[in-house]
Amino acid sequence: MSDTYQPDGTEDVPAAAVPPAEAIPALEVRDVTVRFAGLTALDSVSFTVAPGSVHAVIGPNGAGKSTCFNVLSGVYRATSGSVRFGTAELTALPPHRIAALGMARTFQNIALSPHLSVRDNLMLGRHRLTRAGFLSAGLRLPSARREAARHGERVAEIAAFVGLTGHLATPVGLLPYGVQKRIELARALCMEPRLLMLDEPVAGMNGGERREMAELIVAVRESLGISILLVEHDMGMVMRLADAVTVLDFGKRIADGPPELVQNDPEVIRAYLGATSETEEAST
């Protein structure tokens, strides 16, 4: 099932859909180590996310995948190592500066504002792209109103793309889990990212819902041509979507490469996939 994510000839070749490479830089993770008291969550991990590719990070529970995301998005500070996004060194930057570089992420555990409407949650994604401050918002200056209108349109467009149009006015807290997961994705898209990081986007969804989400991710990459970094335990989905896979175990990288190679790596099977039959059963 190596290349099933490719559209089979009815569309343009994917290369054409990918934007000029200079706009989307590569993400280079070099020897990143993260230690917590008495625990090494990431141990000298390196990998590179090629521009415009879908790169999956997999591994057993507690392997350090989310920790890796947290380092990339500035939530955790790496004990050592470097992360470069184009020319920018990320390890010393606070989260909001990293966001400003066009790195967006979703959270393994939903992190939306339950009281706010879907629209407001999505508008928050526009924070880095908008300017209105206390004064201009408080005084409702024309510039602030223009800005809000313009970005509101884009939010509506993204909501339609993700299939949230009907929910825009609803407070997020009242919506089912599956919808909230999509709002997470939409909010990240609203940041107009150059790199999109998805932490277990289909956890808690059933088969049908998973497939929809997978389609959505493919469509994002098709439409925007951005790089996507994906953490997921659903191996079927990883195999279908990813161009490259990095496997972590106890914070160490144990494999890296194209999905079909990684899938058959004995080390990966031992640490993560287990006997093939079980994998099949658990994640069809």
Partner: protein, 296 residues
């Protein structure tokens, strides 16, 4: 030097009283995550019952009555108010306790009226002379009682499931219920215990060197706030440490007021808060408090 020791000893003994009050805050915070502003009225009730009954039944039975009465009141507050408040935000609950406190304190001060009530304690104005240092006997009793009570709580939290149940309920009442915890019992128990602690604190607050119970007693409860926070709102050890630090600070600063006059008069009252702020700047969850940690 004598003065210093005397001030220090005095500070420690006042600190013991603050520690008892702070421990009341801690118990309730552990069980319900509520900062209890109604603690002052629990103090008042405990003291009031002791004062009103000691003449007819004698001091020790009166003390028991006071402990029981304040415990019942605490349990009632939990049962009638806290349990029924279905709110997510704990600062909202703190406001409810302010409401409760206003009601109770108003009524109690009306009952107390203009009197200064004696509590009939056996220590009277006796003073222990240790060399040149004088320590009121009542204060020694306070120190002993506070140490004993706090040690008991430390052990109870450590070796019984009570503490676990309490913290589980405070953090997530629903899930705690799924563990079979009887939420009502746990938090009601905590409030009752806090009430009893308040009564005990009230006793030591209202006997020698202070003249007795009257309506102004509630103001002292405020000083236990910095004590509780400084130690860490969810820590028993913290309550003791916080109480002692505040007591000693206050005593030293007032005692050396003459030398500190360049800082302004009346420093004794703000010093506890200044100490608290400095501690919090270094340790945002107090000296022994559990640090709030979040991950995504």
């Amino acid at each position: 030097m004598i003065t210093f020791i005397e001030l220090l000893v005095n500070g420690i003994s006042i600190g013991a009283v603050y520690a008892l009050i702070a421990l009341g805050f801690v118990v309730i915070f552990k069980a319900t995550e509520v900062v209890n502003f109604a603690h002052a009225s629990l103090l008042l009730v405990g003291g009031f019952i002791i004062a009103k009954t000691h003449e007819s039944v004698g001091f020790w039975p009166a003390l028991l009555l006071g402990l029981a009465g304040a415990a019942v009141l605490g349990a009632l507050i939990e049962f009638l108010v806290i349990r029924r408040a279905n709110v997510v935000n704990h600062s909202v609950l703190a406001i409810v306790t302010i409401g409760v406190d206003i009601v109770l304190t108003t009524e109690l001060t009306r009952q107390i009226g203009t009197e200064v009530l004696a509590l009939g304690d056996p220590w009277g104005s006796q003073v222990l002379h240790l060399g040149a240092v004088n320590i009121p006997l009542a204060r020694i009793a306070a120190l002993l009682a506070a140490s004993a009570v706090i040690a008991a709580f430390l052990l109870a939290f450590k070796y019984t499931n009570w503490g676990v149940a309490m913290r589980a309920t405070a953090e997530d009442a629903e899930t705690a219920a799924l563990m079979g915890v009887r939420r009502g019992r746990v938090s009601m128990g905590a409030w009752a215990v806090a009430g009893a602690l308040a009564a005990l604190a009230a006793l030591f607050m209202c006997i020698f060197p202070t003249p007795g119970l009257d309506r102004t007693v509630t103001a002292t409860a405020m000083k236990a706030f910095p004590a509780a926070i400084l130690g860490g709102l969810d820590s028993t050890t913290g309550a003791l440490a916080g109480g002692l630090i505040i007591g000693v600070t206050e005593s030293l600063v007032s005692g050396y007021q003459g030398e500190l006059v360049f800082l302004g008069r009346g420093l004794g009252d703000v010093a506890p808060f200044l100490v608290m702020i400095i501690v919090l700047l270094i340790r945002p969850a107090g000296l022994f408090g559990t640090r709030e940690l979040a991950r995504v």
